[in-house]
Amino acid sequence: MKLGVFELTDCGGCALNFLFLYERLFDVLEFYEIEEFHMTTSLEGRHFDVGLVTGTVSSHRDLEVLREARNRSDYLIALGTCATHGCLQASVELPLKEKLKAVYGDEGNPMRALDPKPIVEYVTVDLAIPGCPYDKNELFQALIDIAKGIEPVRPDYPVCLECKLNEYECVLVKKGLPCLGPITLGGCNAACPRSGLGCIGCRGPLPGEVNPAGEFEVLKGLGYDEEYIMRKFKTFARWEP
C-alpha cells in the first residue's frame, strides 16, 4: 500500500513521532511504501492508499496541500491535535489582521496567511487521532489495522481511567493541581500525571457523556479563578464548559 505524509503548519512533532517508531517503522514498511513525506524523503508520489495530514491550515499554501492530499488519498487521517482541534496556535483569539500586525508590522498579508484552523474544518477525514503529540502506538495500530482491512478502534475513555490503571496518585484530589484528566480523551497513558503533574488536556475533550461544567466547579473550588480555568479549557481545543 502507498503512504503519504503531509505537513501543514505545526511543530513537526507529528511527522517526527512517526519516525520515533524506531525498529517498528520497519514493520510498518512491510505493509506500506512511503511515497511522499518531505521530512524524510526527496521522492514525490501521486496516489495514496493512506494519507496522514499533520498541522493546522494557516496559509493558502496549507489549504492547497490539504486539498491535494484529500484528493489523492483513499483513506485520510487527521493526525495530532493541530489537525483535529487546532491546538495552541489556533488558541489566540484575535482577528488575523491584528495578530499579523503584532508579529510582522504593517506589511499587510503578502504571504497569504489564514487564521489557523484544524483540517477537519476544511475536509472530511476517515479517522482523527488527536494528541500533542499523538501516542505513536495508536498510529502504529491504526496503520496495521487499515492494512489488514479492519477499521481502527477509537479510544472512548478519559485520561483519568489510564491514570487509575497505572495507579498514579491523583494530582487533582491529593495535590490540588489543575488536572484536566477527567474530561480529556485518553490514549496517552496518562503521560502528565506520570510526572506528578496535572493533565494539560492536549488530546482534546472526551466526546459524549462528559461533564466539563463539573470540572469547572471543582477547579473553582480549589481556588483557581474563572479566567485561568477558561484559558486552560481553551488552550488545546476550544472547549465550552
Binding site: L16, N17, S42, S91, G105, P133, C192, Y228
Partner: protein, 414 residues
C-alpha cells in the same frame, strides 16, 4: 528570470528558495519560509508563568526540551530563583539527550542519503542497513533521556520552574551511564563518515554562541565576549517570508554546532577534543557544509558528557527537592544552545503573569546566513552545471544548517 526550488525535503518544516537571475548572472537568492505563522509569544501573554514552559515546548518537536529549559531559565531569572547544582546537571543531561536525538536524526536520516546518493534513509537502508540502524539506536537513546528528564519523548512537561515534576532514580541514571559508554564507538564512526563530506555553502565569517556549552548568561562571538542579544542583533521582517531575519552588527552570522566547536572547544570532553583537534584546520575554514562534521563530533561529546553527568550525580547522591517559586515581578532571559544553535527566551513577568515575551530561534538567527550560503552556491554553479544539479546542491546547502523551520515563524515585535 526567477528559478524557484521545490519545497525543501529532508528538513523540518516548509520552505523553499528563489534564485533571481538578471543578465545571465545570479543577482540574489531569497529563502522563503512558507510555514504559516504560529503566534507563540501572543499565546503566552497574560498567562500564569507556571504554565508557560509547557506551552513553549510546543514551538518545536525536535528540540522541545531546549524550549522548556530556556523558558524555565528565563522565568527563574525573572523571579530570582536559584536552583542547586543537581537540578542544573539534570537539565543539562536533558539537553544532551536532545542533542543526541536531533543530531542523529539529522546526520543519519536526513544527510546520509546525500552522501550515498539515495532519496531517503529507507532506501539507503537496503544497502547500508547497519548504518541506518546505528543512527536509529543513537536517536532512541537520546529520546530515552528526553523521556526521563522531560517526561515524554516529545512535548513533556516535567521540566518546571524550581525543579522537576518527577526526578530520575539511581537505576535510571546507571542505565544512562552504561548505554552512553556502549554507543560511543558508534558516534566515533559517525565522525569518520562525515569527515568525508565536501566543501560547499560558502565560508562563514561570524560565529555566535552562548557563553557556556549548552546554557549561558550571555552570548559570545569570534569578535567579542559577553553581550546580550538585544545589544547587537537586529531582527527585521521580510515581505517574502514568515520568518524574520537577524543581523549581528549588520552582518549575517552562523549559530549551531560549528560555531560552538570553534568558540568553545576548550569545554569539550577528552575524545571529542581530540577529534576536534584532528579536524581543526578544516573546521576553522568555516565551510557551512562542515556543520555536519561538527555535529558528528558533538555526538561524541554528548555521549561522553552524558556519562560524566550520570556518574557525578550517582557519586554525589541527591535529594529530589524542588526550590519553591513565588509569583512576583521581574525580567529574565534564558540562553540555551538548542541542537541547531542559540535559542533566546526573554520574558517580563508582573504578578506572576507574562506581560512581555520575545523568542528568537536558531533558524531565525541563521536565516540571513542561509541566504548568503545559497547565493554563494548559486553563483558558483549557475551556468557551470545543469539546473537539476544546482537545485540539488542548494537543497544540500540548506540541509547543512539543519534548519528547523517551524521554530522560526512566530516572532512578535519587541
Amino acid at each position: 528570470m526567477i528559478i524557484e526550488t521545490r519545497e525543501f525535503t529532508r528538513v523540518e518544516g516548509n520552505g523553499k528558495a528563489e534564485i533571481v537571475i538578471e543578465g545571465n548572472e545570479v543577482k540574489d537568492v531569497r529563502v522563503k519560509i512558507v510555514e504559516g505563522p504560529r503566534f507563540f509569544e501572543l499565546l503566552t501573554l497574560g498567562r500564569d508563568f507556571w504554565d508557560v514552559p509547557d506551552l513553549e515546548a510546543r514551538i518545536c518537536a525536535i528540540c522541545y526540551l531546549s524550549h522548556s529549559v530556556a523558558s524555565v531559565l528565563a522565568i527563574e531569572r525573572a523571579l530570582g530563583v536559584e536552583v542547586p547544582e543537581e537540578t542544573r546537571l539534570l537539565r543539562e543531561l536533558g539537553l544532551i539527550g536532545e542533542l543526541i536525538e536531533s543530531h542523529a536524526l539529522h546526520l543519519y536520516l536526513l544527510v546520509a542519503p546525500d552522501l550515498f546518493g539515495y532519496p531517503d534513509a529507507i532506501r539507503l537502508a537496503t544497502k547500508h542497513g547497519e548504518l541506518v540502524k546505528e543512527g536509529i539506536a543513537l536517536k532512541a537513546f537520546g529520546n530515552r533521556i528526553r523521556d526521563l528528564i522531560g517526561g515524554r519523548e516529545i512535548h513533556g512537561i516535567n521540566v518546571k520552574p524550581g525543579g522537576f515534576g518527577r526526578w530520575p532514580g539511581r537505576e535510571e541514571l546507571e542505565a544512562i551511564e552504561r548505554e552512553a559508554k556502549a554507543l560511543l564507538t558508534v558516534a566515533k564512526r559517525a565522525v569518520r563518515l562525515f569527515s568525508g563530506i565536501g566543501e560547499y555553502g560558502g565560508r562563514a565569517e561570524l560565529f555566535v554562541a552562548t557563553d557556556g556549552y549548552l546554557t549561558g548568561d550571555s552570548l559570545v562571538s569570534n569578535v567579542e565576549r559577553n553581550f546580550h542579544y538585544f545589544e547587537r542583533i537586529e531582527e527585521r521582517p521580510l515581505v517574502y517570508s514568515f520568518a524574520k531575519q537577524s543581523l549581528y552588527n549588520g552582518k549575517p552570522f552562523l549559530v549551531g554546532s560549528l560555531a560552538r566547536l570553534l568558540l568553545k572547544a576548550e569545554s569539550l570532553t577528552p575524545t571529542a577534543k581530540r577529534l576536534f583537534e584532528e579536524n581543526r584546520g578544516r573546521l576553522e575554514a568555516g565551510w557551512v557544509s562542515y556543520n555536519n562534521l561538527a555535529q558528528a563530533i558533538e555526538l561524541v561529546y554528548a555521549l561522553e558528557r552524558a556519562g560524566e553527568i550520570a556518574k557525578t550525580l550517582l557519586d554525589k547522591g541527591f535529594e529530589p527537592e524542588n526550590v519553591p517559586v513565588e509569583a512576583g515581578d521581574g525580567e529574565g532571559i534564558g540562553y540555551v544552545e538548542a541542537p541547531r544553535g542559540v535559542l533566546v527566551h526573554h520574558y517580563r513577568i508582573a504578578g506572576g503573569k507574562i506581560e512581555y515575551s520575545n523568542i528568537i530561534t536558531p533558524t531565525a538567527f541563521n536565516h540571513a546566513m542561509m541566504e548568503g550560503a545559497l547565493l554563494w552556491e548559486a553563483r558558483n554553479l549557475y551556468g557551470n552545471a545543469p539546473e537539476d544539479e544546482l537545485l540539488r546542491r542548494l537543497e544540500e546547502t540548506v540541509r547543512a544548517f539543519d534548519p528547523c523551520i517551524s521554530c522560526s515563524v512566530h516572532f512578535v515585535r519587541g
